[in-house]
Amino acid sequence: MAIGETIRNSQIWKSIFRHPMPLDRRNRIVVMLTNFFLHLHPVSIKKQGIALSFTWCMGGVTFFLFLVETVTGVLLMFYYRPTLEWAYNDILALRDVTSLGILRELHRWGAHAMVITTWLHMYRVFLTGSYKPPREFNWVIGVILLLLTLLLSFTGYLLPWDQLAIWAITVGSNMARATPFLGYEGPGQQLLTVGGIDMITDASDARFGLLGARFVGEETLNRFYVLHCIAIPLAVALLLAIHFWRVRKDGGISGPL
């Protein structure tokens, strides 16, 4: 193993990894403290805290799926153009022509899987009573992340611009039309008038704000694209960071006291 030895003794290797391989107890501790990606973890953990029958690994799988969605999503963004002229054709080409069009399958099925694993993670956290003090607030962040996961999936649903997409978004966003006071078909919107002029119309209500238009059209496609690729992922990334940080700060993975 002369080559391996040479590499591990080179200046480059040593500048990246500041300690020997994690083969003995000391270096297994050091690796957790010096590696950026590993430092999310504690150095040691109770055995039951890593038992799969206890954790189901669902939080970790959800995070991993988020990474898969990010990577496949960025690659799909190189190809897909969110305009009425190109959106459908680009997806069609991904299916029929383009090499690695399977990225779309990975992205779509990964998204479905992420919704399911989020629910299962939440189910496990509930069943083990892990939302109880001192972890109340992390549960709240988790609920917001659940909501954002559903919104990510919902905004992405429109992008293929086929019948399935626009009608699912039409049905979903029609709900906003009925928002109390703020939707133009919602209860109480009649009361919001100034000098006899209706403030809430189909061009100023909650649904219009969501769609950017009176119906699902090109403005909506652009709006959902930006929400799907930029706004919501950034919010998720920030909340994920807080979620993980708080797992540690609230005493690590839950267990009997």
């Binding site: 107890r25 501790i29 590993l38 973890h41 040691s44 953990i45 109770k46 055995k47 039951q48 890593i50 206890f54 690994c57 799988v61 991993f64 898969v68 459908y88 069609l92 990975l106 099925w109 479905h112 899987a113 919704v115 399911i116 299962l120 189910y123 069943l127 083990t128 009573g129 892990s130 939302y131 109880k132 003090p133 972890r135 109340e136 709240v140 609920v143 919902f154 649903y157 611009w161 399935l164 009608w167 699912a168 049905v171 979903g172 709900m175 906003a176 039309r177 009925a178 928002t179 109390p180 939707g183 078909e185 919602g186 209860p187 109480g188 009649q190 839950s254 267990g255 009997p256 006291l257």
Partner: protein, 441 residues
């Protein structure tokens, strides 16, 4: 009903692989049991079952309608005839209740394994029905099938541990999670588990992506409305609620309340026990509330909305053809109509022509008085009444504000099942119906 000729040839390969997979699964189970002492009987049972599955697999691979194992047509049409929203909802509730009450029996590995096999075989037999398969095999519906099996598995896994813990706690022992108290290093014990999980998920996702193409329908057209038009599957529980409530409540207020209620949960649950381990007996109230909300009001409604609601949002049995021409009688009546017209035999109160706005509003309130009083009593009188009766202990421990938040969330959550029952029994459409301000409840 459609002819089965070509369809069965298409589905034969899948079913052959499916039954073979069940056979292999049971073969492995039998092998594991064989090696354990004292489980030879069960090992033989699952070996026999695996052989039976191999027979089914070869029959399925024939692809001929005489051979492919399927539910008898008489059974299928009977299921179609019997099924409806009422039986579906009450049936799932009854089933979940039985599973809960007799959980110590159902968590036994051999019992759970038998149920899993029964579910898989039933699924396979149903897949030989064209109408069933065409809905279940829709690419975007496949995740829900996965969700059903995953939920069944994880609920079993959790309940099994909860049963053990409850029994230990009853004997004065700590929960079994406590036994594993010793610490291990995260490298290698955790990071390797994570690595294996990542590889497994990647492999699973790749297989899924290779074998099931993502759906792509015709290009979007804002003039061609599909029937039925459905939201993405995870919102279909909400869409199903539209049968019972107007969009402002089913689509805006209730979902917001779900989010708010989930966030409020850790601050409302004052029970300090059951923190960090599986248990049911120590936290029965919160357990049952969550399971009712999750399974009855969320998951089963999604399944109903996805698999059993067809054109015009009509109910279709699992083996029924989704014809857009199915007609259902709509004879729902509003509460004011029931009260003033049907009960008192008088016309609905209506302001005289040319009356001022205030007088008109007064008449509207009079017309809606029965519904307003019922809802007022439900939301304002019930919480204090419950505080001095069933929830007396809760009220004492929670204090006024926390108790009122909890009681109101609870009552608002129960509006859905209550409205369902009123619809089924009295054909009640709206309790309050004020089209003047678009407020129907």
């Amino acid at each position: 009903m459609h002819s089965n000729g070509f369809f069965l040839k298409d589905v034969a390969g899948f079913l052959g692989g499916y039954y073979s997979a069940i056979a292999i699964m049971n073969g492995i189970a039998a092998l594991i049991l064989w090696r354990k002492k004292g489980q030879v009987g069960w090992a033989l049972v699952w070996t026999a079952f695996a052989i039976a599955m191999m027979v089914l697999a070869s029959l399925a691979l024939s692809g001929s309608s005489a051979m492919v194992p399927a539910l008898p047509a008489a059974v299928r049409s009977a299921v179609n005839r019997l099924s409806g929203p009422v039986l579906y909802t009450l049936g799932t509730m009854a089933l979940l209740t039985v599973l809960f009450v007799f959980r110590t029996f159902f968590v036994k590995p051999m019992v759970a394994w038998s149920i899993l096999n029964a579910m898989l075989v039933l699924m396979g037999l149903s897949m030989a029905d064209e109408n069933f398969a065409s809905i279940v095999m829709k690419p975007d519906n496949v995740p829900i099938v996965g969700l059903v099996f995953l939920l069944a598995f994880f609920t079993w896994l959790a309940t099994k541990q909860a049963v053990v813990n409850d029994e230990r706690i009853a004997r004065g022992l700590p929960p079994m999670e406590k036994e594993n108290d010793e610490k291990v290093l995260v490298w290698p014990d955790l990071v390797y588990t994570e690595l294996i999980c990542m590889v497994a998920v990647t492999a699973f996702l790749l297989a899924w992506a290779i074998f099931l193409p993502a759906p792509l329908e015709e290009p979007a057209s804002s003039v061609k409305t599909p029937n039925p038009s459905k939201a993405p599957w995870y919102f279909l529980g909400l869409q199903e609620m539209l049968v019972y409530f107007d969009p402002w409540y089913a689509g805006v207020v209730l979902p917001s309340l779900v989010v708010f209620g989930l966030m409020a949960m850790p601050y409302l649950d004052f029970n300090k026990r059951g923190n960090g381990y599986y248990s049911i007996e120590e936290r029965k109230f919160s357990y049952l509330t969550y399971q009712f909300g999750f399974f009855v009001l969320w998951i089963t409604l999604i399944i109903l909305g996805t698999f059993l609601r067809g054109p015009n949002w009509n109910f279709f049995g699992p083996f029924e053809y989704w014809t857009p021409y199915k007609v259902e009688v709509l004879n729902n009546v509003d509460l004011p109509q029931m009260f003033w017209v049907n009960l008192l035999d008088r016309p609905l109160p209506k302001a005289p022509a040319g009356a001022s706005g205030l007088v008109q509003a007064g008449y509207v309130l009079l017309r809606e008085a029965p519904g307003l009083l019922v809802m007022g009593a439900y939301l304002l009188l019930l919480p204090p009444l419950l505080a001095v009766t069933v929830f007396r202990g809760f009220f004492a421990k929670m204090g006024l504000i926390r108790y009122m938040v909890m009681a109101n969330l609870m009552l608002l959550m129960l509006t859905l099942p209550i409205k369902m029952i009123l619809r089924w029994t009295f054909n009640l459409k709206y309790i309050i119906s004020m089209p003047e301000i678009s407020l129907n409840f």
